[in-house]
């Protein structure tokens, strides 16, 4: 079993041992439900891996890793209320299964529990761990607000979009790694480099998500292809197409992305036709490669041993090259 799988099991074991089954039940049942839905446990794995990368004892990083995972799940819980999302990981969202008041409050509680675990980091760098985490939490909220703002904004630029996904998704991946590094007492420079690795890999990861929605293999991806198109979501692909398209095609694209009536298959077909015409697949792949290379450059500059770097590089490659 590879090292990252061991880390994942360690995290799932810890979570299964923790007792979230407290009173009042209306507060804690949604928390236990949310944490039992599973998921990739990407962020806490990164925390343990970064601690290991710089020679730390991963047991010292376990509690902050758990805190980060709980924080991430809290953001999903509140996002689902805001996005009116009925399902998460194939199950009903807390907001639908209970109600929005319970989802607000159990989310708030998860945020507090997350901080409790982060605060238990066994490290002389605790103040820096905390400031990294608090700043990241603020930025994740900013990213979600930009994402909501973009729904009604017609002139979103690619630069603004990249800033939004950096805040909403990438900084937490960077912070997960940085906190692991800080636990291992890595230097400020090394911690900053591993943060950059995570943020840039995170942007590539999110761009890949957009990419898979349009060009992925439906069987493997699990979601229907074209979900973002049907939802009129202004992803990187839409924005790049819009940037490159002729005036007539821009109008067509806007028309397609305003339509809520058109047969979905026809709509997806027409949009993909425009993406093909303007080489959006290639452009998007180039952008992903750009960020992936920035990530590689950052981790290469760290002083960690090559075989340990290879684990994280392999993980980022897997995220980036995945076809589902």
């Amino acid at each position: 079993m590879d090292k990252l799988e061991v880390f994942k099991q360690k995290i799932n074991h810890f979570l299964s041992q923790e007792n979230f089954n407290n009173h009042p039940a209306n507060l804690y049942e949604p928390i236990e439900y949310t944490l039992s839905l599973g998921g990739k446990r990407l962020r806490p794995i990164l925390t343990l891996a970064a601690c290991d990368l710089f020679g730390g004892n991963i047991d010292d990083a376990l509690k902050p890793a758990i805190g980060i995972e709980i924080f991430h799940n809290f953001t999903l819980l509140h996002d689902d209320i805001m996005d009116d999302a009925p399902q998460r990981r194939g199950q009903e969202t807390v907001y639908k299964k209970w109600n929005s008041n319970i989802a607000i409050l159990s989310g708030d509680t998860m945020f507090a529990i997350a901080f409790k675990y982060i605060s238990q980091a066994n490290s002389k760098t605790l103040p820096e761990i905390l400031s990294t985490f608090a700043q990241t939490a603020i930025e994740v909220c900013e990213g979600q607000q930009y994402d909501m703002d973009f729904e009604s904004k017609d002139d979103v630029t690619i630069r603004e979009y990249l800033k939004m996904i950096r805040l909403k998704t990438a900084v937490l991946l960077g912070a997960s790694l940085k906190i692991g590094a800080l636990v291992s007492n890595a230097t400020t420079d090394e911690s900053a480099l591993i943060y950059d690795f995570g943020v840039n890999a995170g942007i590539a990861f999110q761009l890949k998500d957009d990419w898979l929605d349009a060009f992925g293999n439906e069987d493997k991806f699990g979601k229907s292809i074209g979900g973002d198109i049907i939802a009129n979501k202004k992803t990187y692909l839409f924005l790049k197409c819009f940037e490159k398209a002729s005036s007539t095609d821009r109008d067509r694209l806007i028309e397609l992305f305003s339509d809520k009536q058109m047969n979905p298959e026809i709509k997806i077909d027409k949009v993909l036709g425009l993406y093909e015409k303007y080489h959006v697949k290639k452009e998007s792949t180039r952008e992903m490669e750009h960020f992936f290379n920035l990530a590689l450059a950052a981790i290469k500059m760290t002083s960690a041993s090559q075989n340990k770097k290879d684990i994280l590089i392999g993980f980022a490659e897997w995220l980036y090259k995945r076809d589902h």
Copy 2:
């Protein structure tokens, strides 16, 4: 000017200097709005006062004090969504002025900002400050959930009610004091005593709030008398009356507290009549005195100088004996 007024000015000055006017505007404008609505600044004053009580430098306690005040305002912001409250401190609530998604997310951001400030406590007791704060935040959420649960629960006991107000209101007052004490490097015992002082005074404070709603002077209290009665809120007064009433009067009380049609003045009059019949005013005063005396006993056991204790005792007396 008395010392507590100096503390309050220090807190308001700090808040006015901080720049919450960031981007995205939809996230930060509600935060700036909320913090500009004022309020008694009770909790951060207590933090500075407890730091001063044990001989600490109050400047070291300023950032955690600000963090506690921002946390408190975050809880009000989210509570207003859950309670569907249109006004707060005489102004529109964030939820009404913007919308509930913005209120959820700007609240989340305030929680993260609160932790940022708490984490900046300049003290070797930082881990204990953090665990106190995180645990308290969890308990405040539990209290709010119990409060919501009680709306549809017909057999709430006085014991359960006291537990609810302890969690929802009193523990944060206790933690505000304890964190100030920890900043001043007070001993574990002293910190625990000042926490007990705050929790017990906080319960008395909340009982007084209930009391004022029924027996207060409308001109001074600011709110209409009987608001809790009109809202069918099961306060201490209702529960005590129910506990003591005859079977017939219990039925009348339940009937009155189920009614949403009756003329408010008549309803208030009838309920106050029952409260008088069962000496609820006296019983409630006795309960307040009990908690106030527990608070006094706790602070008396600390080793602080009498003149400094007197400031906090005076403050608690003012809260407890206020007529508005």
